[in-house]
Symmetry: D2
Subunit: 488 residues, 4 copies
């Protein structure tokens, strides 16, 4: 298939490719909740490839490619449920009813196709944009949602279980249509961006802006920019304050408890826990476990975070000082080989080991794949690794991210991301000539604040407004931004 050609080409370095794949896999896991209710699966569907089917919705439109248009009603209900928990996008729709800030925008998108994405797409549409969409992952598409979108008139090219060939075919169908010149890209992972960049360079030059959400995609954009090849302004929405704080501190505070309970039913009260790393993720884990009556120890390499751990009431230790006595070990470092075989050997019987950090390398799981140790799968995501003397350690998710594998991500968090994406598109599309150059930008502080403000009504929270006099005293605009860009 000729589609592979350009892709192969730009990924000359196999090592980087491998790393990107790994990162993309993690992103996949983030968006693709494993514990879908049984009703979502459609095992009764025939096995014919969607590419070989005739595609047509009830209005006769056939510019899409999905699994089964009959699931549209079911998908619509899923979208409606999601709408209830994405108040910011719904508010955006209302506020923009008159002005249509995306009128004329032609957006090609490549993200996970879920109910939450559908709410985003229908919002973009309500704001005036035309959209064509593909999936950024071969497994994560909710077929019923894709059906509802297609039924609603969206050109969607995605189904669950695409082959890699299908994957690029779908992306190409999004982009390559007679008479269609997209002017905005919404990407998650950078595949769509690079497809256009490589395959349709002329089209790429006419793009007004790229919005990229993922760590990987952002990384690829920065590389492009460094190499002087990014001829389009791009917005990095991954690093906006609101997203960072929610994904890390607040979500982890909840998901550490959820992940541990669902897998092990462990009682938290009185348990001794060591948390490796006291960044935002570690802070969230520590706060939650302390609140539930666990005794928490912290390890850190950074003296500033270490001092914060002390002031927050945690004993700062080296892992080897407590490894024999703790009941639970949690890694949150982003580092590799934090829990190595030597430590695993010294843990006590029944010790639970899991990873909340940013990679699957924090626990040296490979070191446990040796003949003298027996692995016993006791539940989904739960392995007992058994030493010759009978000692067992309880390894969760084989050392991969606990919060992605064993707990769910609240829609509220996805809502923040989706709103940020919509605002970034509006900003780039409407920005006066010259505001954004051919570079990668962070979302302006003011927009970040706006995303936050759109989520306050969920909490029935009432913001105070500055008086003219106060604004002048503080040297601030009454509408923000209220803090410097580096504020966290």
């Amino acid at each position: 298939m000729h589609f592979f050609f350009p892709h192969e080409k730009y990924c000359v370095q196999p090592k980087v490719r491998c790393q990107i794949t790994r990162l993309r896999y993690q992103i996949t896991r983030l968006r693709y909740p494993r514990q879908k209710p049984a009703s979502y699966t459609d095992s009764s569907d025939d096995e014919t490839s969607p590419r070989d089917k005739q595609q047509k919705n009830s209005k006769g439109n056939g510019d899409f490619c999905i699994k089964n248009i009959k699931q549209a009603d079911f998908g619509r209900r899923e979208i409606e449920i999601a709408e209830q928990e994405m108040p910011a996008l719904m508010a955006l729709r209302k506020r923009a009813q008159g002005e249509k800030p995306l009128a004329g925008a032609k957006v090609v998108g490549c993200t996970h196709i879920t109910a939450q994405t559908a709410v985003l797409m229908e919002t973009l549409s309500a704001l005036g944009a035309q959209c064509r969409w593909a999936a950024c992952n071969i497994y994560s598409t909710q077929n019923e949602v894709a059906a509802a979108l297609a039924e609603g008139g969206f050109s969607v090219f995605a189904w669950k279980g695409e082959s890699e060939d299908d994957f690029w075919w779908c992306i190409d169908r999004c982009v390559n249509l007679e008479g269609w010149q997209p002017n905005m890209i919404l990407d998650d992972g950078g595949d769509l961006t690079h497809w256009i960049y490589k395959k349709y360079p002329n089209m790429f030059k006419k793009i007004k802006g790229i919005v990229e959400e993922s760590v990987t995609g952002v990384h690829r954009l920065y590389q492009l920019s460094k190499a002087g090849k990014l001829c389009v302004p791009a917005m990095n929405v991954n690093d906006s304050v609101t997203k960072q704080k929610f994904d890390n501190l607040y979500c982890c505070r909840e998901s550490i408890l959820d992940g541990l309970k669902r897998t092990t039913d462990v009682m938290f009260g009185g348990k001794q826990v060591v948390v490796c790393g006291y960044g935002e993720v570690g802070k969230g884990c520590c706060a939650a476990l302390k609140a539930m009556g666990s005794i928490v120890y912290v390890t850190e390499i950074d003296p500033i975070c270490a001092l914060q751990a002390c002031m927050d009431g945690f004993r700062l230790v080296k892992l080897n000082e407590v490894i024999r006595q703790v009941d639970i070990v949690i890694t949150c470092t982003g580092n590799k080989n934090v829990v190595v075989r030597e430590y695993l050997d010294r843990m006590k019987n029944g010790c639970i080991v899991c990873n909340m950090g940013h990679s699957n390398t924090e626990i040296d799981v490979a070191s446990l794949r040796t003949p003298e140790l027996t692995w016993e799968r006791v539940r989904s995501q739960v392995d007992h690794v058994i030493w010759p003397d009978g000692k067992r350690i309880v390894l969760l998710a084989e050392g991969r991210l606990l919060n992605l594998s064993c707990s769910t991500v609240p829609t509220f968090v996805l809502s923040i991301t989706a709103t940020t994406q919509a605002l970034a598109l509006i900003e780039l599309y409407n920005a006066p000539e010259g505001r954004y150059k051919q570079d990668v930008y962070l979302l302006p502080k003011k927009m970040d604040e706006y995303v936050a403000s759109l989520h306050l009504p969920t909490f029935d929270a009432h913001l105070t407004e500055l008086s003219d006099e106060q604004a002048k005293y503080l040297g601030l605009n009454k509408n923000g931004p209220f803090k410097p860009n580096y504020y966290r």
Copy 2:
């Protein structure tokens, strides 16, 4: 079947019978975790009734009746896993190796047949007792555990999915054996006790003691005692301090979070929650939710608990004052009709309603079974009830106990109960003539303290001992009891 006769007889009042059944159902739910791993089911088993099968273990012994002796190995592993989390019973086994305090005891038991019970039974055996056992519930038996017990030589009569006829047949087989005069009863619900009392009155008179765990069973014993018909001393282990505090305050602190997450994936941060009732259960729920960043309101009828809620930092309100604004409603009162239709009508869209109290009457679920409301089952244990205007409330477990239906009970808590049962048996069996009369007793404070002390090693907790001088100063025995009986 003649087995029914005596039972029907003593339950003359259908209303009481009905109440007892309901209470027993709740107890059932407590012991029978719904979320068993798939591997526990044995669908491949034939459909022959165990009563019609030939029963024989590898040593040729056949004095038992279970589903399938071949599952013994699997059951043994389950028991071994449970042993690791029941350190107090294991400690009892060790301490009593020499003396055998239950030598000569002939115990008939009627409890849920689970891995935890098996650890208890094998402990009693190690202490010198002979045991015969039936299940106190027709659904809760873990067949593989029953198999392991039978293989180990225990006379067990129980399988999952007994008919009511089977139920009483099993109990009778426990009791009614040529030449077997039991002298101790360990009961959960009172069925075994009443079977012997009614059917074998002479046998009943020779019993040295009864240990009863459930609210229902205790209630029935008190009634018997009141009527002057209890000719045997009985121990109420349901109301011991350790059990109460653990089952209520500490367990609910964890299970409220677990139950809500597993059913709804709700984010706790910033949510407004009203907790009805500030007893031990309410205190646990409030503490957990406050710690997770929820804003919690409390309702109370008792001014003392109300004042405690205030001092603990919760706004004390009437339900109607906050019902329109809250995101979650949790009942913990033990009362009925706390959340009535009027309140349900006024809740906001998406409000979650659940019950952590002692009955399924706290939420008036019946009032929601009206034609104008639509029920939609969205997940196991989760219903959306939809008003004509589209408002949905999210009802969990149909108003039954959330912590039993939607979360698990940690083995550590079961360990406390089992240890208390074992000690109660030892106490009653060894008590000098006259210490216990024909009445219902609470476990002596000192024994309660002993149960607690046996669980301290789990936490690597080191108790301080009084010096002689200090004991004298305080007027205490160095070995306790340390507090008056009413201390909570």
Copy 3:
């Protein structure tokens, strides 16, 4: 002086006397806040004994004996400030405006004479009682408050700095007035009660009830009762739930922080603290310090409290395991010699040692009075004890109660006690013949609940009322009591 005679007589055992004196001293400290504003002192007053002065208020009444009637205005303001923080007594006044439940009551009282007591006395008066009052402590009288009371028509006999002779003279003046037969006693420490019992036995027999607040006084009443010599019903208000919970758990939670800060300005964050004893006081201290970011260890002798400490997230240790590493040692045991010289020798430089328990014996301060150690008073209530090698420990309040010596007791707590006293007087005075026998009683649960309910408006707390149907379901009276007497 003949006044001494009976007193000497009934205190035959010098050892008991000594113990009582010590206990009374502690009670004194409770009511007598050391940090009085400078304005309260009246150094300009002449040195003439009040007994030698002519006493007359502005209305010509002279049936009192105080320091200086001119201070009445100042005292009145103090009383008015106290009224604002004693809403329950003010509410009692209002509710009882019509009925005068103490009409005919002739109360002799012997308590600390403070603004709070004045609010109580004026409430009793508003409820219909006649009052004569003496001080229960020779140092604790606020002279200006006594003046305001005298000016208001109360027969008060008290001043700051009485001699022991003065003390008994004042009590006698209260009791011994031509034509005055008191029928109620309100006592704090038991001195008034015993004075009447010994000196005016006929008067004693006509008393309708005694209300006693202190540990000591209650102890003396129980001894009298045991000896069969208590011919009057007495109410022990010291052990009511509301008082206990407030004085211990909630107050200590606040006063431990206050006491440590005022004396040492220590930063709590990151400090390692060991708290000896996990009763209510220990629970309060631990919760506060944990919340402020300290790392807290607990020692306990009672396994039940120990298990609670574990579940609440504290490492349970023996003192010697952590004594070398902790920054602060706090005793809350009620025991003696908990911190002995051996431990003091091993503490690290700068370690702070203090006592929050019930006696001054918890820290073996005497063992520090040896020649090789240097004492340095660095602030009021703060001593450095210096070892030969230069190590210093920081001893607070010489091992006496930190919360009484170095922090204040909020008026709100005193309000609870005063309300309880008023209600106890009303109950005993109005109880139908036979309800109370010649014994010592706890305040009925219902009254305890009533005291709590009177304090809820302070928190703008709204109690829920049971419906008839609910009350019936629970088997409760709609107005309480809601819990059994032993509920804590």
Copy 4:
């Protein structure tokens, strides 16, 4: 006096001058704890001006000007006590014993002369520097510490209660000595810097570096830099992470409780509190009060901080929504007129109002100076403002900073600042040519981390070290810096 001349000159704008004075006053309050023990005063001293006295220490040296050299011993003890709580400086002394990184440095300093400063000066000296010192405030000098420094050979020119004339005379004596060319400036407020800049421009040009601690001083340096007149590199140590986090979040968490208790003895449990502003200071206040059982509301203008407040469990309101119901109002905004007369009019009786923010303008105290309101000073720093209807509000510190006026700053925090100053001096003095230009710099991240690391031993905290492999994986140097500069 000619000393005034240059000073008057550079402060041409009276408004700016006034602002600077106000800011300096606040700084003064920070360093000058009002609650000095009585022993610190020296009322017995004669009234002769130190400038008129003969100054000579025991070694015959007279190059200083202080109040009374006889107090040297007392001052030495104070310094020794401070040394115990400033472990980082003591560690610096030890580490630098060999190398003397400040050998050749001639430091002129102008800071508060306290025991903590003395520890800093003696550390600088131990590191090789020569020091001459003046006070940055006319009231804050601890005379006994100045005496100890003089006795130890330091040229100190400072006493408590200098006139403004004295102030500049002292500064000049520091600088203006035959043959003395300082090469480093350590300033707090910028007065010394500007004196040299204006009066000795040639000397100024030869300075190698300036270290400035205060907001004001930093502000003045930035202005100089903007105007192109800063010919010397300067280090802004005020904005280093460690200092900011400690001064704001962690200190305020403790001082809000301390300040409220010392002034009002208020009970925190159950109190309703509104905190205006949810920056670091507000976060600290809210966390502490929530932990103590208060019910806390938050007001914010910034939606991001508002969302954080929600997630942390606080109701976000506008002030007018809760002003009638709250018991305590705390301002932490840095803004002006946050609490205006309109709100003060609507507060309930007894409401406590105080300011924890950055200025004395947050509460519009001026609006309370009207004839119809009565002010009553009830304690030091506590005023009752009384409305015509008798309503009282309790105003603390007349609206100035509560934590500076009514609580103390722990030495541990001062230790962080002093260590940062020492390291900044070392860095600037040793930096290779060209590293620092004529600009204002933040302390390099790595140094900030070093300051933190020097304070970890206080908590017995053990930092983990990266392995070579891990450092490579993370792309970090094993010794840091570990985070980007903007990390907070």
